[in-house]
Amino acid sequence: SQKIEQNSEALNIQEGKTATLTCNYTNYSPAYLQWYRQDPGRGPVFLLLIRENEKEKRKERLKVTFDTTLKQSLFHITASQPADSATYLCAPFLTGTASKLTFGTGTRLQVTL
């Protein structure tokens, strides 16, 4: 069956360091993959989208990579700040699945001073 795996353990990182979050998927061939940020008690907010023919995508301090051979996406936050503390969700998308996204369970990032 199709599965999305994100590290369920929280990632604790010191301010200024680079945070790297992992999203692995199995039995999928996503046309693209999205990353969202979710703060406690709020709805997820879209951050980045990367397509299957793109290796890397950047937006300010954020960088996403997409390795279709490894079936993995990495999400990097450089120069992390306490305000980056949140849960980050990955969501691969399959074409032909009637506009449905499937979300991973998310990884909680905690950036400390």
């Binding site: 008690g41 709805g43 997820p44 979300f103 369970t105």
Partner: protein, 113 residues
């Protein structure tokens, strides 16, 4: 610009009581609409989605139902709530037509006692 509204923000209901959660979108037409549930510490579970008025697809069999009486209105209902219906309910929309970034509402926190 587009906005999405959900109400109520918080709801406490007894087991066996009915439920009606409403979601409306402004500033766009013919959106795809989605209902998700997020249990405490869990990922987003897609419950229903709709690509047009009166068109509802159910993802998970349960005692919930959804309706779309108007283009930008999506309603989640139940005739008799169960304890397991407690959770954070999120409505989301997309432009459809291959543009699949999802825009989430603020959510409704439901506690069934």
């Amino acid at each position: 610009s587009q906005t999405i509204h959900q109400w109520p923000a918080t709801l406490v209901q007894p087991v066996g009581s009915p439920l009606s959660l409403e979601c409306t979108v402004e500033g766009t037409s013919n959106p795809n609409l989605y209902w998700y549930r997020q249990a405490a510490g869990r990922g987003l579970q897609l419950l229903f989605y709709s690509v047009g008025i009166g068109q509802i697809s159910s993802e998970v069999p349960q005692n919930l139902s959804a309706s779309r009486p108007q283009d930008r209105q999506f309603i989640l209902s139940s005739k008799k709530l169960l304890l397991s219906d407690s959770g954070f309910y999120l409505c989301a929309w997309t432009f459809g037509r291959g543009q699949e970034t999802q825009y989430f509402g603020p959510g409704t926190r439901l506690l069934v006692l």
